[in-house]
Symmetry: C2
Subunit: 440 residues, 2 copies
């Protein structure tokens, strides 16, 4: 079983910073994030992960989410940890591939092989408007750009062979120029000559992660992702997604084991189920309806300000009409419609994990639940989203991980040195000496 | 007097990695860079600085220079230091202003107010070709873009007021929405709505640094820079540059004290002058002519491969015809022509600092020299470029800094908490509550 700790401020619940269990001032304190990573490492987790978007969220009055640029933050965490993988979100829509390839190659070196890239296409209008667009680029165009972007980035990582750095002071050979190559990419959107100016990192390529669950997103993930984060609210949904994704992986010519599928879970844990339910209730009661409406507006791509809270949502369009995050739209729409929720009820359900599944119970119950999903074809592991931090991560590491270890489901020591190794993947070697054109 | 340590691999001399005083394997080791920063901090230096370019250098066989992306690297150094300023180079030609503003705001938070940005426009063809261009964008166009880029970046930093983050859990107010504003920038090259999604950093704005010495570069520096790195090979040249720059600062309506002018110096230090000269000679003898020709080609913007080493340079055009780094071109041209150097001699002179001044002597002699420049209107401090690392920085910190301190020229303890403070500048406050449009 693979476990990723999805970290966000002082917790995933939108009101975490208002709960007495957290210290809201730590949101801007790098030591907080270093300590979270150290707790996760103590639990032998595969990785930590920071989401990102490139716009201030709606309702800045009530909360902000991703305050620091994730690669910059993970670099500060890399040097305070030894083993745990470090996954940063970065956008293919609003970066230059050369810069992104270099940042992740740098992080891979600085962390000695622990860098991972969560590939996103950035589906909100607020983000588009920070980068010269009037509105969100079309969903299909974003994925086309993502494909070419990824082609360029991987070619840049591969522009240095494994053994290109010779470092022979006597002969004065720093690198073997036949093992460092221009890539001469000429595509519809990018023209990039290369090579990269950072030598190949310890992993060859950072781990590729994806969380898109639209049709285009699932196909992209099936072709490229090595770990997949997904929001699945029931075992049956999880099983459907898992088998669908596995089938797409096979269809794209890859081995099933090359991909780890990690549904998210927001765990409210206490020593009795009643206490855990009460804890979740405490968080729900702290929700600011106006902030939650802003988050919901963002997820649905429509402005809900002024919406009556005790009425159902207005009628929603079909997914095909959505240019933003299609699958999150559909998840919310299904939840609202099938359970006939009022907006207030919907907000309560979404408060903890923006659509991800919540779980309230004892550590034993959560271990049972994770084992069930893991052994019933719904998950290769889990994306753990503590509602409050550091407490919610501490209790998971101290009380759930040991149960999983005792059941033989989870590692008791790190068996590998790199993030790819934690996920059971080999490094990506590159020894195509002399192919393509050589650097001068 | 202000002192910046300009760090590069295992030394500024192009053959530093071949010299027995260095361990070339440390070029890819983050702990090496952390230790260099700690040495500089032990000497109470104002700052450390990493240059950058966004292409592999010519002659990758012989050396590479900037291997890691500087912000990523400085973030790992920030958490291993307490006081010293952290200056990263980043390009206005090949980044998006929103991303750059966010990275530097993040670094400013992670370092508790120690971030600085060395603004470059990227003047080589190799770089242009990694970002969709066939050749270097015209010099004047690069500076026009730099101006608009900086306007956007500073507006984004200013999109949060000092006191915008309220963090009142009881009232549920994270930030005051009247103190977080869209910037609604619409210019010739950029359309950026804002606000930034990172709150205002401890310095308000990171320190702005510039090293352009062309006419356009000097005007840009005079309008915006708070520290200026420059290559000046003689006291007279240094005095001319210093008074010219100061005059431009006055003409642009700023106070002279708002800018620190820091000429570079590459110090070869030993307990006798003869030993120091011999040390410099050891480095010169290790130069690979083909690497040095590549560096020279890059500085002059012309291909010199196949050039006869014991002949003078071919005739060079006037600076006006150069679209790359104009002032570095002129510096090299003047050096070659006025001293009638052969290419081999020119390469030897440039080997240590790519045009910056070398100094070989005792610590006492260097302290005298720095004092002379400092007290004779040529410098507010110095950009120290150790030819070999860590040794060249260690001897500067342990043997030159104490002399400067004893003469009352340099601080004995840090008197400020931020990089701006080290350079005698106040934080940039922003309290224009309610101006512009407010964030939702």
């Amino acid at each position: 079983m693979h476990l990723n700790a999805f970290l966000m401020g002082v917790g995933h619940h939108e009101a975490a910073w208002r709960h007495p269990s957290t210290d809201e001032r730590r949101i801007l304190d790098v030591r907080h994030y270093q300590e979270l990573a150290q707790i996760a490492e103590r639990g032998r987790l595969d990785s930590i992960f920071f989401a990102d978007n490139v716009a201030v969220g709606p309702r800045v009055k009530r909360n902000v989410t991703a305050v620091f640029e994730p690669v910059t933050l993970l670099s500060a965490i890399a040097v305070a940890t030894e083993h745990i993988g470090l996954i940063a979100t970065a956008s293919t829509s609003y970066n230059e591939p050369f810069n992104l390839a270099r940042e992740f190659a740098s992080l891979d070196h600085l962390s000695r092989g622990r860098a991972g890239w969560n590939i996103v296409t950035s589906g909100t209008e607020d983000e588009a408007r920070n980068f010269g667009h009037e509105t969100i680029p079309e969903h299909a165009r974003r994925y086309e750009r993502a494909q070419e972007f990824l082609d360029v980035v991987t070619a840049l990582w591969d522009s240095w062979d494994d053994d290109a750095v010779v470092l022979d002071p006597g002969a004065g050979v720093f690198a073997d120029p036949t093992r460092v190559r221009a890539i001469d990419h000429v595509g519809e959107r990018f023209r990039v000559r290369g090579p990269l100016n950072t030598p190949r990192g310890p992993q060859g390529r950072p781990l590729l992660v994806q969380a898109g669950s639209s049709e285009a997103g699932k196909d992209f993930a099936a072709r490229h992702a090595e770990a997949i984060f997904t929001a699945q609210r029931s075992l049956a949904d999880g099983q459907d997604f898992y088998s669908d994704l596995r089938e797409r992986v096979r269809a794209s010519g890859r081995a099933e084991g090359d991909v780890a599928i990690l549904p998210g879970v927001v765990p409210y844990l206490a020593s009795t189920e009643a206490e855990a339910v009460a804890l979740e209730r405490e968080f729900t009661d702290l929700i600011s309806p106006d902030y939650a409406l802003g988050q919901l507006s963002r997820m649905l791509g429509m402005d809900l300000s002024g919406q009556e809270l005790d009425a159902p949502l207005p009628p929603l369009p079909e997914e095909a009409a959505i240019e933003g995050a299609k699958s999150r739209f559909t998840l919310v729409k299904r939840l609202a419609e099938t359970e006939r929720l009022t907006v207030r009820e919907l907000i309560g359900r979404l408060g903890g994990g923006r659509g991800h599944r919540s779980f309230a119970g004892t550590p034993e119950q959560l271990a049972d639940d994770l084992e069930l999903w893991f052994t019933h074809g719904a998950a290769d592991g889990f994306n753990i989203m503590p509602p409050h931090l550091p407490g919610g991560l501490q209790i998971f590491v101290d009380e759930v991980v040991p149960l999983l270890q005792r059941r033989g489901l989870f590692r008791t020591e790190y068996g590998a040195e790199t993030l790819r190794g934690h996920y059971g993947l080999p490094p990506v070697h590159n020894t195509r000496a002399g192919s393509l054109s050589t650097a001068r």
